[in-house]
């Protein structure tokens, strides 16, 4: 049986680990390598690492840091942030990363997805879509550059297009729910699942294993990712990196899939 994936998503700013709320107020939560070591010990399913400064500052990916993270990481690693060319993607894959995530550049030039997929294989191309609900509407628009630029395009339409262009996985990330730990946008997750036939990962709002179970019971075998949930503990958001045990994960997955 293929299992749903429970995925910590780590944000990097100035080479340190941070966590945001609604894409704002980044709080320093520690050293990325240290976090990777903890997730190794906890045997996390996968890891997503995103450099949230690279695109905004028009900077190249930090290849040295990526290689260091990849060498340390004993689980599949997806890296995103500042990737604009197939050459950059290829270089990142060559440094030992399994998947690269693209966002802003793919929205400006959807052809880029195809070109990167030709270079590294579509199984390694992840498109991340940051989305925000449009005021007085049910539509979710795709935003880029850390939620500062609205593409005004429906996230479900964009998802279907990037699949056609050669994406191997889609991650949707709710700007409204980011860092709030109040639960995922289940309806949108379900619509996305129906809209594409490549793997999807839902990110934004996860605050408990129950929240993750809700996504799995509705969507079945998908990726469920979170940031705050894996780095904060308690109501005062004390920094403590954690991940469910194998037994906790089994209970979560099997009870959620039973009600699917």
């Amino acid at each position: 049986m293929l299992r749903p994936r429970i995925i910590p998503c780590l944000l990097i700013q100035d080479s340190g680990l941070v966590k945001t709320v609604r894409f704002k107020d980044p709080k320093y939560v520690g050293d990325p390598i240290n976090a990777v070591k903890i997730f190794n010990e906890k045997e996390a399913d996968e890891l997503i690492v995103v450099d949230i400064d690279a695109t905004v500052n028009g900077r190249e990916p930090n290849y040295k840091q990526i290689a260091h993270l990849a060498a340390e990481c004993r689980m599949p690693l997806c890296y995103g942030g500042g990737i604009r060319t197939p050459e950059q993607a290829k270089r990142i894959i060559a440094s030992g990363v399994e998947k690269v995530a693209i966002s802003a550049a793919a929205l400006e030039d959807p052809q880029l997805i195809t070109r990167i997929a030709e270079e590294i294989g579509r199984q390694s191309v992840v498109v991340v879509l940051d989305h925000k609900k449009r005021l007085l509407s049910k539509q979710h628009d795709v935003w880029t550059h850390n939620g500062t630029r609205n593409t005004k395009r429906n996230v479900l339409d964009v998802a279907a297009e990037v699949e056609k262009r050669g994406a191997g996985e889609i991650v949707i990330n709710s700007i409204d729910n980011d860092g709030r730990m109040k639960g995922y946008d289940i309806d949108l997750a379900m619509e996305l699942r129906k809209a594409v036939s490549i793997p999807v990962t839902i990110l934004g709002g996860g605050g408990s294993l129950e929240h993750m179970g809700e996504v799995i019971s509705v969507c079945g075998v998908v990726g469920v990712a979170a940031g705050s949930f894996f780095v904060f503990k308690g109501p005062y958001r004390a920094v403590l990196i954690s991940y469910p045990s194998a037994a906790q994960k089994d209970t979560l997955i099997f009870s959620a899939l039973k009600s699917h």
């Binding site: 299992r3 399994e98 590294i120 199984q123 490549i198 793997p199």
Partner: protein, 204 residues
């Protein structure tokens, strides 16, 4: 010594790291010369079938590899696309494979009824070892590995299937013929399950 074949594909460093942590000597070969001291071979691979075969054929290591594996019977394990190129051919490309394990690589969606299967097959899948295969020693009851692929290995002979996994259909996720092994999943990224398998390979 365990020798990882570096023909420009796959996560070489991840294998090196696993063996270093196990204190098992390991080296990386980029030329025929560097292959000569190998007692075990690891053949990684990612991406497209023809791309992998093209790179391997152009690496200058092909002849030496054939001799080491087919004549000297040095144990070899192919990983992911490194497993797929052990076959004779693939739906994905037109180049002949190594042909060390008789079979053809198929696309999941070529199977009737699986036209809408979500692909790539991505994530942790349960694995069922079929018979007492030394590669899966200790994992007879509980084996789980990380997969990332859209094609699967179809063995010409049932007896060459070493383990099965279920995704849309039951497919051979590990193959074994004499000294030639192949696994579709990524042991180098499969935590203690993968470390155990790579350790088993080292102890063959």
């Amino acid at each position: 010594m365990i020798t990882i074949i570096d023909y420009g594909l796959g996560n070489i460093q991840a294998f090196v790291n696993v063996y270093k942590r196990l204190h098992i000597p390991v080296t990386v070969a980029r030329s025929a010369q560097e292959l000569l001291g190998a007692s075990k071979l690891i053949l990684p691979g990612v991406g497209a079938f023809d791309h992998a075969m093209g790179r391997l054929n152009a690496s200058g290591m092909r002849e030496t590899l054939d001799e080491l594996v087919l004549v000297k019977k040095v144990p070899v394990v192919g990983i992911c696309v490194g497993m797929q190129i052990l076959a004779n051919s693939s739906d994905e490309g037109s180049l002949p494979g190594l042909g060390w394990v008789p079979g053809r690589v198929r696309h999941f969606r070529s199977v009737p009824g699986l036209e809408r299967l979500a692909l790539p097959h991505m994530g942790w899948n349960d694995v069922e070892p079929l018979h007492l295969n030394p590669l899966f020693k200790g994992f007879e009851e509980d084996a789980r590995f990380y997969f990332l692929h859209s094609f699967y290995f179809e063995c010409s002979q049932e007896s060459h299937v070493a383990a099965r996994a279920s995704y849309g259909l039951d497919f051979s996720c590990a193959v074994a013929v004499d000294n030639v092994y192949g696994v579709q999943f990524h042991p180098e990224k499969s935590h203690h399950f993968g470390v155990g398998l790579l350790k088993n390979f080292a102890e063959l």
